[in-house]
């Protein structure tokens, strides 16, 4: 029997103007697990991440991270618990260099005064280059993030989450708009992080999902339709009906 879930969501509901985005959602995640969430457009995937990270609040239900309810906390407080999020569209600070982007993500004080009077220590510098090494942008440290290729921006954003030492990484469509090669590299990156970090990946690209080879949860109309390995869910009647049916053509 598993003793500890890192993330649990029970009986979560959320509607926007009568539209039920999340409908009695129950979700459990083990520590160190890599989980992929798939589902058709409007299935509530991104809304689920919004609920975990405090961007929106559930109407009913409980979401707990390591036993702490997060549904009443503000975004930055949830972050400070160790939950990091990568947005669907790459959100990096385009006017800052790659180095500075990681610096702003770096674990440590987030106060106004410390940011005015603090200095970058050599330890922090080392840590930043460590992260840049992991995401493969070490030789681009002084480039402005706005000038990076699309895939590199995505990696940079993942790097910012690593710098903050987030235990739970929520990664929203990391492969969107990437070339095949970039997608494969992103997959390798995420796989190498699993274990030390717990990761939820939302993805549409089935090749990428297969590469990750993780347990897959299928969301449909804000509800968990089923979960299992990719092969299991692909052969599930209900899944074929709502989602994979039209995907199977190619």
């Amino acid at each position: 029997m598993k003793t500890e879930f890192i993330l649990t969501a029970e009986g979560v509901n959320k509607s926007f103007d009568g539209f039920k985005a999340i409908n009695d959602l129950n979700f459990y995640l083990d520590k160190g697990e890599l989980r992929t969430i798939i589902g058709p457009n409007g299935a509530g995937k991104s809304t689920f991440l919004d609920l975990i990270t405090g961007r929106t609040r559930p109407d009913t239900g409980i979401i707990e991270y390591r036993g702490t309810p997060v549904t009443k906390l503000r975004e930055y407080e949830i972050y400070r618990l160790g939950i990091g999020r990568k947005f669907q569209t790459p959100s990096v600070y385009s006017d800052h260099t790659v180095f500075e982007n990681i610096l702003l993500g770096l674990e440590g004080s987030r106060g106004v005064w410390t940011s005015i009077f603090g200095r970058v220590t050599s330890e922090q510098r080392e840590r930043i280059f460590e992260v840049l090494e992991i995401i493969g942008l070490k030789d681009r440290a002084e480039v402005k993030a706005g000038n990076l290729a699309h895939g590199q921006k995505q990696w940079l954003e993942i790097g910012m989450l690593l710098a903050q030492n987030a235990q739970l990484l929520l990664v929203d469509e990391p492969a969107a708009g990437m070339t095949d090669e970039e997608t494969a590299k992103t997959g390798e990156l995420l796989l190498s992080l699993a274990g030390q970090h717990t990761i939820i990946v939302i993805e549409h690209d089935m090749v990428f999902v297969r590469q990750l080879g993780s347990k897959v949860t299928v969301l449909h109309q804000g509800h968990v339709l089923c979960d299992g390995t990719l092969d299991e869910v692909q052969n599930d009647e209900r899944v074929i009906e709502v989602y994979l049916g039209r995907k199977k053509k190619h």
């Binding site: 930055y76 990096v92 000038n147």
Partner: protein, 382 residues
């Protein structure tokens, strides 16, 4: 990299400007006889003193708009509050020298007051007034900013709200029973400490103080951009959600910038009032704040040096045009703004960069080597 060279140019520019403004001009004013063609008149000193206070206001707008993405359309409120706070002291220093030979300011006699309202009494003290110049704009900004940022008011809603705030204050100050002189405001000043306000020496001192305030605001704002705070500030401008979801309480950062901008604007207002000789509610009207935004846009936002160039430049142009073409002045200002927005999105300061880009594009077109594939550059050029 070009960045450090630009920075060096900026340091040189500011140093030279500071020497000219704080050294050469006052020297030419004091040392040369009026007959000398190089003599700088008292009128000019006074005029430029006013521009310098405007430049501080523009720096306030720039740290908000250019560096934090907060377009405040009510920055003149804080300028005027500082001006009023100091104006109250100046009013009380008139003493019995007013039209009505009373201890009370003229407008109070006129409105039938027989006693100084309680909140005016402490303004007999110069130091209290000076504290009020900092604290009143600072506290108003703190309260308003706290409420606005806590409620996540952003973008255009923030702009509209700041405009509404200054408009509301303007209407309030227009009322006679608000005890700040109503429509006419505060005027007819005689003394600061025990110096004659209107003497050339006092005016020159005020001009110098304005110059030092501008230099100080510039240096502090520039220093702030080099700190991690400055990086967070620009990150908020470029992607506030990312900052929020990276664990920063962005509202605190915005509040700090908002209060800082209000305080320097208030100090500028306090120096403006004795140099112009009047402070009235029209200084709070929304157009005034919009004008300040225009200066920043013309000079180049997000540059700190741009707002200084913009505010002094546009106002010098205004002084000239209102005399030379009084009827066309507004058309000139409007036309200038339209041209800048259309063709020079980075303002006057951005011109060299624009020329460089144009030259590059030209060279690329002429080069026989094909341009590398687009994959290396960002597809999301917004």
């Amino acid at each position: 990299m070009a960045g450090s060279e630009v920075r060096r140019l900026e340091v040189w520019g500011i140093t030279i400007a500071a020497v000219v403004v704080l050294g050469v001009l006052p020297a030419l004013n004091v040392l040369l006889p009026e007959t000398n063609p190089l003599h700088v008149s008292d009128f000019t000193i006074n005029l430029y003193g006013k521009y310098l206070t405007y430049a501080v206001l523009a720096i306030g707008v720039d740290v908000l708009w250019g560096f934090t993405g907060l377009l405040s359309l009510g920055q003149c409120l804080f300028f005027a509050l500082g001006g009023y706070a100091f104006g109250m002291y100046l009013m009380l220093k008139i003493g019995k020298l007013g039209q009505y030979k009373s201890d009370l300011p003229d407008f109070m006699v006129f409105l039938g007051y027989n006693k100084l309202p309680a909140h005016w009494v402490p303004f007999n003290s110069f130091w209290f007034a000076l504290a009020a110049v900092v604290l009143v704009p600072g506290i108003v900004a703190l309260v308003f900013g706290y409420l606005a940022f806590r409620s996540r008011i952003r973008g255009v809603y923030f702009s509209i709200l700041t405009q509404a705030l200054t408009y509301g204050a303007c209407l309030m100050f227009f009322r006679n029973d608000f005890t700040f002189g109503g429509n006419n405001g505060l005027t007819d000043f005689k003394f600061i400490l025990n110096y004659d306000v209107n003497s050339a020496a006092t005016q020159r001192t005020l001009y110098m103080l304005s110059g030092f305030l501008l230099l100080g605001s510039y240096v502090f704002s520039r220093w702030l951009t080099t700190t991690k705070f400055g990086k967070v500030q620009r990150a908020i401008r470029d992607s506030e959600n990312r900052v929020l979801f990276s664990g920063y309480a962005t509202s605190n950062f915005k509040l700090f910038v908002f209060v800082y901008a209000a305080v320097i604007s208030g100090l500028a207002g306090a120096l403006y009032t004795p140099q112009v000789g009047i402070i009235n509610p029209s200084e709070m009207s929304p157009e005034k704040s919009l004008e300040a935004v225009v200066w920043v846009a013309v000079g180049g936002r997000g540059t700190l040096i741009g707002p200084i160039i913009g505010s002094v430049g546009v106002n010098a142009l205004k002084s000239w045009a209102t005399r030379a073409y009084p009827d066309l002045w507004l058309i000139i200002l409007g036309g200038l703004f339209v041209l800048i927005v259309l063709f020079m999105p980075k303002g006057i300061v951005g011109i060299p960069g624009q020329i460089r880009d144009l030259r590059k594009r030209f060279q690329r077109r002429e080069s026989p080597v094909p341009v590398p594939a687009q994959g290396a550059t960002s597809p999301s050029a917004e």
